[in-house]
Symmetry: C2
Subunit: 340 residues, 2 copies
């Protein structure tokens, strides 16, 4: 069997380029006993992937050259040698950027029957939602009335963080690039304020948006954005370091702000990776499902159609093209299987 | 009544200088009702005092010019208009660097009758011990078998941190200045290793002393010393930021290490001030008294005699003159009061 795949051809120098990728046709082995063949429906592009394109990788191994890119995706099972995974199941998993993927049955998560929108498992019910939930609630530990600042506020994680902060009674202040995104963050997502980091008066407008200082910084960006947050931190502030996207495409990391403030203000700065927090998955899913069912969250996806456009979607994350979760729609779902 | 006082005459530029201080005679008002007159026996000099000599102070207000320096001291009550504080009591308090101090009775802590060595309340049973205890146990959260690195390991706080780490089953690695201090840290204090930061091969010897990486960094210094610790941090490492003495005498703070490691290694960096942790005072005193009674801790004080030498003792902290707690002995204790 043959499948189309998105291959990493070259390690980017700085921001990734379309020439770093290629679309190739690969041979796929037939599933062995215990394995399933999954047809990709949608795949997720996420900022952490940039770090894996570097020679050393990061906390996850580097992507191999001349091999497919990979990440979270949802798909439907078209062939199964695992009795626990029926043909026709819609599943979420981590796998290669291909039209078809072979995985062991234990590596896929069965999604609810007739789930109307399985892409939600790449967004609020997936790693992105889990990251927002753990980072804000467990690392940030919000108390009603506190001010929470979120960078990349219009992005997949940031848009959820601010909305959960509002549900917890906090003042949510976003930081995003450009007036259009800032309007979206306030008008659609319901943050109390959003500040455009591209504006020349950015540090001053951030200060004006945080009249009581900053208690929690959910940091997705780093660099100059963290630099503007830093002097506004209150005593006992918490910084949940979720991402440092400003550094991912740079050879040299941004200088960190002066540590002496960490001491005098008793700040806690905590880098976290969601893969360490599987123990909170059940709590997160329960709460997030409830929030989704009650309409407490506004969601938007940035959908690009076609496997061949996955590189473009990934690159777009670093120019700020996306409002909400970036997803590549690879194929339409076949008709739902007949009920028994 | 008149008393000799150590006065701040000039704000230091960089490291403090003897010319920044003066010895003056001041008039002391008689105690009002509820107040006590205390004769100073010993006073504590501590690195945090340097920050208070700057115009803006820090987390504590700046010392005023032409006014006395102040800090923790122990003394004996020579006159009392507070019935809870009998004449002859030995007390610990915060007060001016003077031979005699007037305080309200509620500001002094009565030390146990016939305490043979009240100076211990400026060291292991005082703020210094409380800092080591909270910083290591609550902020560092040591687990037996982990590696704890302590900078300024021969100093008042550091020498306790490493010894408590040993009591908790950890590998304790000190960082100190010069071979004599390093020998003291290993041979007398019982650390597993101590590395001389003045040696040219310092980062390599630190790495060799930490074959399993670093799980907890109890940071007293910052600057290049933190820079050498940084690449050796393990996943989920904790950095208890207790002091940044490398920065206290500098105009510009040292650059911080790259934050991206905080993320990939899931590091927690937590600045703390002991004044926030009064809720742990009783636990700390109970445990520390037990460790002292069982001889589990080795202690040394660096004692300078004479109030007029307090500036010299303070300045000495920044040239690394002291092994253990620096104390200025101001007066000898009078004969213990007759028992009733």
């Amino acid at each position: 069997m043959r499948t189309t795949a998105v291959i990493l051809k070259r390690r980017p120098n700085g921001r990734p380029d379309l020439q770093d990728f290629a679309l190739e046709t690969r041979t796929l082995a037939e599933p062995d006993p215990g394995q399933v063949l999954v047809r990709t429906l949608s795949l997720s592009v996420d900022p952490y992937m940039r770090a894996r394109m570097n020679p050393g990788g990061s906390y996850m191994p580097a992507y191999e050259l001349d091999a497919p890119m990979s990440g979270h995706f949802v798909g439907e099972v078209v062939s199964s040698l695992d009795p626990r995974v029926p043909i026709g199941s819609v599943v979420a998993a981590v796998g290669d950027w291909q039209e078809y993927v072979v995985l062991s049955g234990g590596q896929v998560e069965l999604l609810p029957d007739r789930e109307p929108s399985p892409d939600i498992y790449l967004g609020p019910l997936g790693m992105v939602g889990h990251t927002a939930y753990v980072g804000l609630l467990d690392i940030g530990r919000p108390v009603a009335g506190e001010t929470v600042v979120v960078s990349a506020a219009a992005g997949a994680v940031g848009s959820l963080v601010g909305q959960i902060a509002k549900l917890k009674g906090c003042r949510a202040v976003g930081i995003a690039g450009g007036p259009e995104k800032c309007r979206y963050v306030v008008d659609v997502l319901g943050f109390d304020a959003c500040v455009d980091y591209r504006a020349t008066d950015f540090p001053d407008t951030l200060q004006a948006a945080c009249p009581n200082g900053i208690d929690i910084d959910f940091e997705n960006v780093g660099g100059d954005i963290l630099g503007a947050v830093w002097p506004l931190l209150n005593n006992n502030a918490r910084i949940a370091v979720c991402g440092l996207i400003a550094d991912y495409n740079q050879e040299a990391p941004s200088p960190a702000p002066p540590l002496v403030d960490l001491l005098t203000k008793r700040v806690t700065m905590h880098g976290f990776l969601i893969m360490d927090h599987a123990d909170r998955l059940a709590d997160f899913r329960r709460d997030m499902r409830r929030w989704l069912e009650t309409g407490a969250l506004s969601l938007r996806s940035h959908v690009v159609r076609g496997l061949e456009r996955a590189p473009e979607a990934l690159i777009g994350l670093f120019s700020g093209d996306n409002l909400g979760k970036s997803i590549v729609q690879v194929a339409d779902r076949r008709e739902a299987p007949a009920q028994p």
